[in-house]
């Protein structure tokens, strides 16, 4: 294999993760950038590209407060290529875009970031106002008039199908949240560092049946950065590069209710058609869990079990535990580490492949990992490999 035309994840960084942090979200982003540059041994002058999701969102600033042009300006980056937008196959689509840029010679080292300030924004509405319109339009008009105001209610309907059609139980679904919370105990940066018992899960209040409070992630303030580097620039980098071995993304009907099935299934299937690796080669999976059920559908969609068998696959929790055969969301996922919005999964996959997980490092010598984002009407999956 010639590495010249491959794309690699090199430096990774992450800010503090918190709720209502006083630190400005641009500075949280700078914190994560500095950590990533230091790990890669790169200077800001060597960065020539920036990629983010979903770009600055003025009507919902807490959701995405830092635009790529602001970061480029703030850091004095001379960018030859940049991109930021929400019309892409979910959060990790920003990594896919960057990988495509470096593989086609448009950039050598691209800072990819996702910054969230959703808790901070709620505490400071004067600076981060929610712009409400009198009337809804676009996709929202097909859900909001029916008080289906949260993605929880949209995901819950897919989950209910699994309950009714395949017999998914609450005890089975609980294993996503229980695993997340157990792993977060070993992640110093995680937002929620308290154990969760099955009894607590089962007695939690329902949000949208069958999803309860602990099936949902929590708004947080944080920034996550991954640097994507070109194969012919890899000798400039100090850290162990992680190769992006395959990428896949898809969108079904973006309006959610018209989508017959979730995009995690088509995306998972496509990923394996673009690589010689198989599910048996995977050492750990970091699967989007903004709602727990999404991670379960990723397990099915990626072929770790049959469609409808996800509940049985995770039953009891030992298979997906830190010392299990397929460790899941070893940093705590979004449910326990905080709503990093997609990028946390890619960050953790690289941490594990480099053996830098500390107390939460998985056993053996992991070489192949999967990171995903989305999973509802749109989805992205990355297959990551360490060659050396």
């Amino acid at each position: 294999m010639t590495m010249r035309n491959e794309a690699f994840i090199t430096g990774i960084g992450q800010s503090e993760i918190g709720r209502k942090l006083a630190r400005h979200p641009l500075l949280l982003t700078v914190d994560a950038v500095k950590e990533a540059l230091a790990e890669a041994g790169l200077s800001i002058e060597q960065i020539d590209g920036v990629s983010t999701y979903p770009g600055r969102v003025p009507q919902m600033l807490g959701f995405s407060p830092v635009g790529s042009d602001e970061l480029i300006d703030a850091l004095g980056i001379k960018a030859k290529w940049y991109a930021g937008g929400g019309e892409i196959s979910s959060q990790l689509g920003a990594i896919v875009a960057a990988a495509s840029a470096v593989r086609t010679g448009q950039a050598r080292h691209v800072i990819c970031y996702r910054t969230v300030y959703e808790a901070g924004a709620m505490a400071n509405p004067a600076e981060y106002p929610m712009m409400r319109r009198d009337r809804v339009d676009g996709n929202s008009q097909w859900t909001a008039p029916f008080n289906a105001l949260s993605a929880a209610t949209w995901v819950a309907q897919y989950a209910m199908r699994h309950v009714k059609k395949y017999g998914l139980t609450r005890e089975q679904l609980a294993q996503i949240a229980l695993t997340d919370r157990a792993n977060a105990l070993l992640n110093p940066r995680a937002l929620v560092r308290e154990p969760l018992s099955m009894d607590e899960y089962l007695s939690a209040r329902m949000v949208s049946d069958p999803l309860c409070l602990y099936d949902c992630d929590r708004h947080s303030d944080a920034s996550t950065v991954l640097i994507v580097s070109a194969g012919d620039a890899i000798d400039e980098v100090r850290c162990t590069p992680v190769r992006i071995a395959a990428m896949a993304g898809s969108v079904d009907r973006h309006s959610w209710d018209q989508a017959e099935w979730m995009a995690s299934y088509a995306t998972g299937r496509d990923l394996w058609q673009r690589t010689d690796y198989t599910p048996a080669d995977v050492d750990t999976v970091q699967l989007y869990d903004g709602f727990s059920f999404l991670a379960l559908t990723w397990l099915e969609g990626l072929g770790f079990c049959e469609v409808g068998e996800g509940g049985k696959f995770i039953e009891g929790g030992s298979r997906i535990a830190l010392d299990g055969e397929l460790p899941l969301n070893t940093f705590g996922g979004q449910i326990a580490a905080g709503r990093l919005h997609g990028f946390g999964f890619a960050h953790e996959a690289v941490v594990q492949l480099r053996g830098l997980g500390g107390e939460r490092q998985i056993n053996g010598d992991p070489k192949v990992a999967i990171a995903t984002s989305g999973g509802g009407p749109l989805a992205t999956a990355l297959l990551l490999a360490r060659d050396a």
Partner: protein, 131 residues
């Protein structure tokens, strides 16, 4: 109080057909397919010969959830949010609420029929179980 859609040339028939007791779905006059959300072109055959057509308002619950969380202070809970597959508009699924029965009396596969709730100039299509 429900959030209301901003009416435009494409969605007005859907959101106001209830004034005449009709659920109106964009329809292709060339291939007989339905297009929802409404667009000015048929997603099945790319014909622009499309217009809203009244359907029966009968449907089947594709899936559902019982919403327990009040997403704003005035929201009364619990209530049912469901995806309703329209019986005579193949491939069209509408998110709506199932009203007129206990939230525990709703299941996938239940047959439902449209009723309209007016709020300002909008007629919101809701569904009741067919007895």
């Amino acid at each position: 109080m429900r959030a209301l859609p901003r009416l435009d040339s494409l969605n007005r028939d859907f959101w106001t057909g209830g004034e005449h007791g009709e659920l109106r779905i964009m329809h292709c006059n060339d291939c007989d397919g339905y297009i929802h959300p409404p667009r000015p072109v048929c997603r099945h055959c790319l014909s622009e010969n499309v217009s809203a057509k009244a359907v029966s308002g009968r449907g089947v619950i594709d899936t559902y959830t019982i919403n327990h969380q009040a997403w704003h202070p005035k929201m009364e809970v619990p209530f049912v949010i469901a995806r309703v597959a329209l019986s005579d508009a193949p491939g069209v699924i509408i998110t709506s609420n199932i009203i007129g029965c206990s939230v525990d009396d709703v299941d996938i596969g239940d047959e439902v029929s449209v009723v309209f709730e007016q709020q300002d100039d909008v007629f919101i299509p809701l569904f009741e179980k067919v007895k």
